[in-house]
């Protein structure tokens, strides 16, 4: 007997567990342990009702330890830690045991075996709780300054938002001036707002906020430090700057897809990308003309560079942008024949109204099969586009046109240096990955580094700015409290045992361990920076004299769990 007073709760999970595991037998096995004061089953342990029952058990029976045997710790560790806190129990005195993903779901063909395994796992969980200790989160003071990388509309708007929460902001832009893509755009869909005007307004707003430091022709060269307190190096305009920042926001945007030579006739006169065509429209006053000749007919080829083998994703903005461009053409050249050759039209949301309007105003839409793209024939003085139109029963059509517009999408920006410095998580498609696309859309797995805008994947400017403001909320939520709580499950060094060999310092992937000599010939000992330690445990086996323990996963706890697992289940 350890003298602990432990409560064990075994979940049915509706039937996800109890259809394969004999929950009553698991509860009975848990009761055999002399330290287990309460053991119960529950249909849904995570339900509010069961949680309040557990809370009253904790008070009534004076429980000082808890085991919940239900689903993966990924799902409900946070739920039950919060429940423990509400009951006045230290959240680290609770152990989550996974008898669903790692037991009932994997052993649906062997009910007895699944039950035996569940009993073993629960016994191990009880052993872990017996060895647990109350842990307090490490509190650090956070730096009231944020770094924003990328000075397009997303980064500019995020910088303004951050400044308005009272934080200082360092805004780093790689080009000569702020503005990014939108700073080069004329009228944008859906309402024809001029991109250059938007950027001019944002520039003014930034100019009025002295708490924003703008660095152009800049790049981030280094990042060190711990959660809430990072040191970043920035080279800008030939000078080096060092900043203390609490959080980083990456808003580096996208690159435009550049078709290969000859791709749909690209390179021939009269074959333009969407961006080039928009520039032509921006320059157009009165008559629509290309190289001095009136444009009477044009063909838009959609999905160029998107939804193919190289870039599997949809670029999201191009359908709407091309339809908007065709409406601008209808304004300046009402009799021009406009053919839209598409795979699938995705003018989602309100942009559908532009699609309808463009058809009303004479744009003709033709659909080609994924494996049968249109062919652009470039003659000396003519352009002809051929396709099999699925909307005309697959009939082959030839379209002699004055201009071909390749509706090109977004591709990830090549920026290996920044990825290296910030350790940004790059997805299969080359864009940066967030932790959770719905619930944590701007945080990354790298602590303190947030992402927003089109560097995460294709977005419209409105969507990018909304995501930039989401990053503002996230950063402010962390920094405005002034302090941050860090996970207390970190490595600790037993100084009297440590020989100062330094094996742990090289084993630590986060550089969180260093050797300190006390002078006067006394031996050096390892010291863990609790703010820098991520609790990965890499140092524990590296220590030749067992002088390092990981709080929450101590050697004592792990040995106890192994002993419990090795106990035979009598049935």
């Amino acid at each position: 007997m350890s003298g602990r007073r432990i409560g064990v709760y075994v979940c049915h999970c509706g039937g996800n567990i109890s259809d394969y595991v004999d929950v009553d037998a698991v509860v009975a096995a848990a009761r055999e342990d002399p330290d287990v004061v309460v053991a119960r089953d529950a249909m849904f342990t995570c339900s509010d009702l069961t949680q309040s029952e557990i809370i009253s058990d904790i008070g009534e029976h004076g429980l000082d330890g808890l085991v919940v045997a239900s689903c993966s710790p990924k799902l409900h560790t946070f739920t039950f830690r919060e429940m423990a806190k509400r009951a006045g129990l230290n959240p680290y005195e609770y152990t989550q045991v996974n008898i669903r993903e790692q037991c009932s779901w994997t052993h649906t063909d062997d009910h007895e075996g699944a039950t035996r395994k569940a009993i073993s796992l629960v016994r191990a969980g009880i052993a872990n709780t017996k060895g647990s200790a109350p842990l307090q989160p490490t509190q650090v003071t956070t730096t009231q300054r944020a770094l924003v990388v990328g000075g397009g509309v997303t980064g500019m708007r995020a910088a303004i938002g951050l400044a308005d929460t009272g934080l200082e902001v360092v805004l780093v832009e790689s080009q000569d001036e702020l503005g990014g893509w939108v700073g080069t755009f004329g009228p944008m869909f859906p309402h024809g707002t001029v991109g250059k005007d938007l950027v001019a307004r944002l520039r003014e707003d930034i100019g009025r906020r002295p708490s924003i430091t703008v660095l152009t022709r800049g790049r981030v060269t280094s990042r060190a430090g711990t959660y809430g307190n990072y040191q970043v190096g920035v080279d800008a305009d030939g000078a080096h700057h060092d900043f203390e920042v609490g959080q980083v926001v990456v808003a580096t945007g996208f690159s435009a897809y550049e078709p290969g030579p000859g791709e749909h006739g690209y390179g021939a006169p009269g074959v333009l990308t969407l961006v080039q065509f928009q520039e032509l429209l921006d320059r157009t006053e009165g008559r629509l003309a290309y190289q001095g000749r009136s444009v009477e007919s044009l063909a838009y080829i959609y999905c160029v560079g998107s939804r193919g083998p190289e870039h599997a994703y949809c670029s999201r903005y191009c359908c709407s942008a091309a339809v908007h461009a065709s409406l601008r053409v209808a304004d300046v050249a009402p009799t021009a024949r406009q053919y839209h050759l598409y795979r699938d039209m995705r003018t989602y949301g309100r942009n559908e109204e532009m699609f309808t309007e463009s058809r009303r105003r004479g744009s003709l839409y033709m659909k080609f099969a994924d494996d049968d793209p249109p062919v652009v024939e470039t003659g000396t003085d003519s352009l002809t586009v051929r396709l099999h139109d699925l909307l005309s029963a697959g009939e082959e059509l030839a379209l002699p046109v004055d201009l071909v517009v390749l509706v090109t999408g977004m591709v990830p920006r090549q920026q290996d240096d920044l990825v290296g410095v910030l350790k940004l998580p790059v997805g299969q498609d080359g864009f940066f990955n967030e932790i959770h696309p719905k619930l944590r859309p701007v945080e990354t797995v790298v602590d303190g580094v947030n992402i927003c805008g089109a560097c995460q994947g294709p977005k419209t400017s409105a969507e990018s700015i909304a995501s930039g403001l989401a990053a503002v909320t996230q950063v402010a939520a962390v920094l405005k409290r002034g302090t941050a709580d860090l996970d207390p499950q970190v490595a600790t060094v037993l100084a009297e045992q440590c020989t100062g060999c330094g094996d742990c310092t090289s084993a630590c992937p986060f550089g969180a361990i260093s050797l300190f000599g006390s002078g006067n010939g006394a031996k050096a000992v390892a010291r863990v920076d609790a703010a820098g330690c991520k609790g990965c445990g890499a140092c524990v086996p590296a220590c030749p004299v067992d002088a390092i323990d990981l709080a929450g996963y101590t050697d004592h706890q792990v040995r106890g769990m192994i002993d419990a697992l090795a106990m035979e289940v009598a049935r």
């Binding site: 007919s297 309808t356 058809r359 909307l391 005309s392 009939e395 030839a398 379209l399 002699p400």
Partner: protein, 102 residues
């Protein structure tokens, strides 16, 4: 193969009245609902006319004149195309541009 040239019937139809088949979104409800529902009536006929494929429209002369003008298609068109009016315009165009006999 059909080449779509500037000498399309589109402008000619536009001159006759408010021809609006280009607003079609190709859903096919009109064809599903048509009591005659021939191979071409009404969606493909509207498609040929919208693209200005004069020869195709001439070939489908019988379909154009067999339409009952019942307006079932039009009542159910989600794109709001006035299909029967378009059929009337096509009839008039066919009368003014008859098929040449060899």
């Amino acid at each position: 193969m059909t080449t779509l040239t500037p000498s399309l019937i589109g402008p000619e139809l536009a001159a006759l009245g408010d021809f609006d088949a280009q607003a079609c979104m190709n859903c096919g409800i009109c064809t599903a609902i048509c009591p005659l529902s021939t191979d071409v009536l009404p969606r493909r006929l509207m498609r040929y006319a919208a693209l200005g494929m004069a020869e195709r429209v001439r070939q489908e002369e019988e379909a154009v004149f067999s339409c009952l003008l019942c307006r079932s298609c039009e009542e159910n068109c989600p794109a709001g195309v006035h299909i029967t009016e378009n059929v009337r315009l096509l009839r008039r165009w066919l009368l003014e541009h008859p098929r040449r006999l060899n």
